[in-house]
């Protein structure tokens, strides 16, 4: 069964049945960033450690980065975002995904927040 977890930096991580993890940013994050106009994605085949800069997001207002919430090898990136970065604003939890990882340490995923805890965290912000 697939499961979605959240990082303190407002990324989501979705683990599917084959143990691959898809990374994106939350609706709260896209709302805070404003209209996204440019995205730089990691390279397929590269390895990321937890906390590594994985992608760059430029909104009309400012630049920010995605720090990989878990470690692993990048197995796919959402090339469509290069031409349509606004997709992240439209569908942050769906078509606006950033990259997929083959995780190297399953405990990292488990230590991310569940939906309830994440909701509680953003409620204070």
């Amino acid at each position: 069964m697939s499961e979605m977890r959240f990082s303190e930096d407002h990324e989501w991580a979705l683990r599917d049945e084959s143990n691959q993890v898809t990374i994106g940013i939350t609706d709260f994050a896209q709302e805070q960033l404003g209209e996204i106009v440019f995205i730089e994605l990691p390279e397929v085949g590269s390895t990321l450690s937890q906390g590594d800069e994985a992608a760059v997001i430029e909104s009309v207002k400012a630049a920010s980065e995605i720090k990989s919430p878990i470690s692993g090898e990048v197995v796919a990136v959402n090339e469509a975002l290069i031409d349509e970065p606004g997709e992240v604003n439209q569908a942050p939890l769906g078509e606006g995904w950033f990259y997929k990882l083959k995780p190297t340490d399953p405990t990292e995923f488990d230590s991310l927040m569940d939906s309830e805890r994440y909701q509680a965290m953003t409620a204070d912000q």
Partner: protein, 372 residues
Amino acid sequence: MDRSPALETTPLDPLHRELGGKMVPFAGYAMPVQYPGGIIKEHLHTRDQAGLFDVSHMGQIRLHGNAAARELEALVTADIVDLAPGQQRYTLFTNPDGGIVDDLMVANGGDHLFLVVNAACKEQDINHLRANITAEMELLSTRALLALQGPAAQTVLERVVPGLADLHFMQAMEAKWVRNDLFITRSGYTGEDGFEISLPSDCAEEFARWLISQPEVLPVGLGARDSLRLEAGLCLYGHDITAETTPIEARLGWAISSQRRNGGDRAGGFPGSKIILKQMSEGAEKMRVGLRATGRAPVREGAPLVESSGRPIGVVTSGGYGPSLAAPVAMGYLPPELSEPGTVVGALVRGKRVEIEVSPLPFIKQRYYRGK
């Protein structure tokens, strides 16, 4: 938790919040950076129809008396003594080193001079004026300032201010709305035709509500104000122009009136004029330029500009995404020999070198109304 000192608010604060404005601190004021429609929509709407901006955080000052023009002229680069009633000029406060202390608008209101200065420089400018002029200074702290900008601005404003169509770019007029005194100038900070309207604070919200009730008008926040002015090649004080840049380096030589230049009737006579006028004839070591990245990544303020060897040659002072161009745009400083449009240099974005090309300013065609 926000523990910063309490922010000041403008008379439109309740309206901004009611409209869903995302409020941010700016120059000590709570100001809307955008409304729910977003910066890109607000930007494009202003170029297409009309945008309403609350600029009440800016300083509005009246100078009274016969000495006002002569005394103000000694502090700025423009010809103020010969500024005719109903005319407005853009000018600069300078310091003895030739640096720019603030940029401002000065209009001749008939029996007074009307100044609009930057919010962040307001206190410093007032102190500067107090220390250097004897003319009576009236701080218009109970007046709001609204900007209505865009090709439909005249059509909209004429519905309540008859006679507006006769006003040209950089001209001023008095008007009445209900029983309230308006002071209107045909000027702005977007590159579009438009007006700035000074009015009593207690009627500002009602006037703003009427404006946004008009089908052409959308409220616009600071985000689009910045992207509009950047595309129009207009300087942002504290960023593109500072106490460390001279008017010549900033390519604002046009803001030095001919009477104040070498050979003019009243040449020099403003702080730093020797240095500035020397640069005007001999050139400066750096120049403000327009910059367009060849890639899609916006190049923002602070990005170093480098030559192919990696040697630093300048810096980006404003940069972001230009919605009307659907591309990144920036301004920065380069040595004069590298300031020709078409010259390609490097810019460091997150440590990576991207190519950026010197481009003519403004990036969009300015559409000021200068008469038929």
